[in-house]
Symmetry: C2
Amino acid sequence: MTRPLTQTEENYLKAIYKANEKTKAAVNTNTIAAYMKTSAASVTDMMKKLAQKDLVIYERYKGARLSPTGSKTATSVIRKHRLWETFLVQKLGFSWEEVHEIAEELEHINSDKLITKLDEYLGFPKYDPHGDPIPSADGKFMLREQMILSQLDVDESGILVGVKNHETSFLSHLNNLNIALGTSILIKERSGFDKSLKVSVSKGAEVVLTDMVAKNLLIRKS
Amino acid sequence: MTRPLTQTEENYLKAIYKANEKTKAAVNTNTIAAYMKTSAASVTDMMKKLAQKDLVIYERYKGARLSPTGSKTATSVIRKHRLWETFLVQKLGFSWEEVHEIAEELEHINSDKLITKLDEYLGFPKYDPHGDPIPSADGKFMLREQMILSQLDVDESGILVGVKNHETSFLSHLNNLNIALGTSILIKERSGFDKSLKVSVSKGAEVVLTDMVAKNLLIRKS
DNA sequence: ATATATTTTTAGACAACCCTAAAAATATCT
DNA sequence: AGATATTTTTAGGGTTGTCTAAAAATATAT
């Protein structure tokens, strides 16, 4: 009788997943606490519990990594999150900065059939409204060539395929600049002083992007 | 700082709502316990808590009724449940006996905007896939003339507009008989012995309905 | 390498929701 | 009305997930 995980447990797994996506090294207690906006003590408690359920590999004072099962679970939650975000934007007409919070709730709904049907209904999307890849049912991510806008040279151009920052304020800022997924961006000038870029957006309006913005834009060179 | 209700609290309110829909009288502790599949002791605890939050009017040993706020909340949860059921059937292609459980989870997602947009996406449906009325955002139900199939006389006919029983087994039974919402049913014969009915379905096949089935079919006379 | 700072764990406690068993209140029967 | 049966509440306790404060382990600095 393996009972389903609680939302909290799923969120811890997701936090660990996101924290070590690249490194695969063990994640600190404090790092998890920051992700979860909770205390280190609570994290320790939860790591013991998740380790006992074989979802996490945990050594005291050394941090935690996901077990294969834990990793599969985390990926499945991310899949659900991104499919729901896609639904909210494509079908219900939400804008990309509104959907994260709602999807944080929807991702915990428990029904494989629901997700299978939702995926089908959406036409098996490979990327969500922020350009993040949607893992397939067996946990595989679609990878793509991408680079950060700040790495482009003057006179080079790219198409926006993703964003590294998902905060509402950042996404709204892009809305104001008329920058969305698929928008083409051509670098016109780079300031030697603060690295800010003058770019032309969709072969039209010229706008200035601070380096802080440019660092968060993922593009495919065009 | 009114924090949102927990799923459990919402489910208790829904249970009280359903238990006294007609009578409006106070609901027994044991009745609520049966609905919630929990112990009477737990119900007493919860009633104290809900009374303290002004969601329920509760007198010890006398049972509970919903306060205006409690009633509004219960109605809103029912609205969400029925809209999600409609979505699952109409958009994702679920069959009517599969959707209740999933909607039990979806009904607790917290976003007014989500429900507003879902309602619009579905074309402001007035009835869910079981024929139950979907309350409007301000809590009003669309009422309709309806009667129970067993009340019809021989040679009278009606259109199925709802079902009183929502169990999977009952709904599957209707599927097997080719009876769905909108199906027209004409009474051909009534047995004097066990009140079973011989009916013709959609002006075609003749089938026999036991009284137990006929009692659970809501029809509009045609 | 020893002291200091940081990180992590343990200890003890609280809130939400659940339980069983016993006590109290109410209802029913004769 | 008195006895019995039923319903409801109280008492005491368990689990999950949270917290703060103190103790223990590890890392850093001089």
